[in-house]
């Protein structure tokens, strides 16, 4: 009987967690290898925003972004030189890298990696 109640409670909690994700938008990626150490906020890359405009293959095939959060070691110099985010954020396809705060908008202390994914909705944590 108690076990049945416990199971029900766990189920209710899971349903609640799925219905009210208490965290980032699904697919957001934090890039913070060096940002915070160098005195700027962590970078937040929103998949939802970009996939409205570009198919995955543009970034993950044409532009060569590896599909593993944390696998791309991006530096600001490369971006300004037109690599990684800088392939679009160059003042032509999208606004230029001088708008620091739009990319560096994260809270202090964020760990690099995918957010709002496995850890909030997928059963990857079970």
């Amino acid at each position: 009987m108690i076990a049945a109640f416990a199971r029900l409670a766990v189920l209710a909690a899971l349903v609640a967690a799925a219905a009210f994700p208490a965290s980032a938008e699904y697919g957001d990626v934090v890039l913070n290898h060096r940002s915070e150490a160098e005195g700027v906020r962590p970078v937040i890359f929103p998949h939802w925003f970009h996939r409205i405009r570009f198919r995955c293959k543009v970034c993950h095939s044409e532009l060569g972004f590896r599909m593993r959060a944390g696998a791309n070691v991006v530096t600001m110099k490369e971006i300004v030189d037109g690599k990684f985010c800088g392939m679009c954020h160059n003042g032509q396809i999208a606004w230029a890298p001088d708008r620091c705060d739009l990319c560096h908008s994260g809270r202090p202390g964020l760990k690099p990696g995918i957010q709002g994914g496995h850890s909030t909705l997928g059963p990857g944590v079970w």
Binding site: A22, Y26, E62, M87, R107, I114, G117, G124
Partner: protein, 193 residues
């Protein structure tokens, strides 16, 4: 049978109500504002300038999980028109056939649609890692998928999450007998546009 006047009025009223309810389906989706998502710094001047997920996603085909958007449907219906290439010489490749997987398991058979995937991805994103391009040659394993490998590389991270079992396990087992571990289903003759 002849209905008396009050009954027909009631019936008509109910029908009108039902129609109204069906037409005005409330959108119950909610998106957390950026400043409260635990990720964006409310004190950052950038946070106020960024687009709120709700403002972009509320008008797209609804889903109950992930971004709460049926991304493939949104694309097929033309609600979004994401670019398929930036560089001139890039060949944009689309493949229309389906692969049936897990033919001998206990859960319903898995249908892998090439079209939904190649609308977004290039062949090289999957072949030859993580998947070899030979039907039946991949040892797919639900435990590894749940750990973020194989299908779980994207599903559970960016594409719809693994809570949506039936979306992949979609072909009733009764409709197909046992046999090989995977099967190839050619594209329907009339390919959609």
């Amino acid at each position: 049978m002849k209905l008396s006047r009050p009954w027909t009025t009631l019936l008509a009223g109910l029908l009108v109500l039902a129609a109204a309810a069906a037409w005005a389906q409330p959108d119950l989706r909610r998106w957390i504002p950026l400043a409260k998502d635990g990720l964006h710094d409310p004190a950052s001047p950038g946070t106020r300038q960024l687009q709120e997920p709700r403002d972009a996603l509320a008008r797209l085909a609804a889903d109950g999980a992930g971004n709460q958007v049926r991304w493939v449907q949104a694309l097929e219906r033309g609600e979004i028109a994401p670019r398929a290439n930036l560089l001139e010489g890039t060949e944009v490749r689309l493949r229309e056939d389906d692969i049936l997987l897990n033919l001998n398991g206990g859960t319903p058979i898995v249908r892998f649609p090439h079209r939904a995937h190649t609308l977004w991805l290039d062949c090289s994103n999957c072949h030859e890692t993580p998947f070899v391009s030979k039907t039946g040659a991949n040892k797919l394993d639900m435990r590894r998928i749940l750990q973020g490998e194989q299908c779980g590389l994207c599903h559970g991270a960016v594409a719809f999450p693994l809570t949506e079992c039936n979306r992949c396990h979609s072909v009733p087992r009764a409709s197909r007998g046992g046999g090989p571990a995977a099967g190839h289903v050619p594209a329907a003759p009339k390919a959609r546009p």
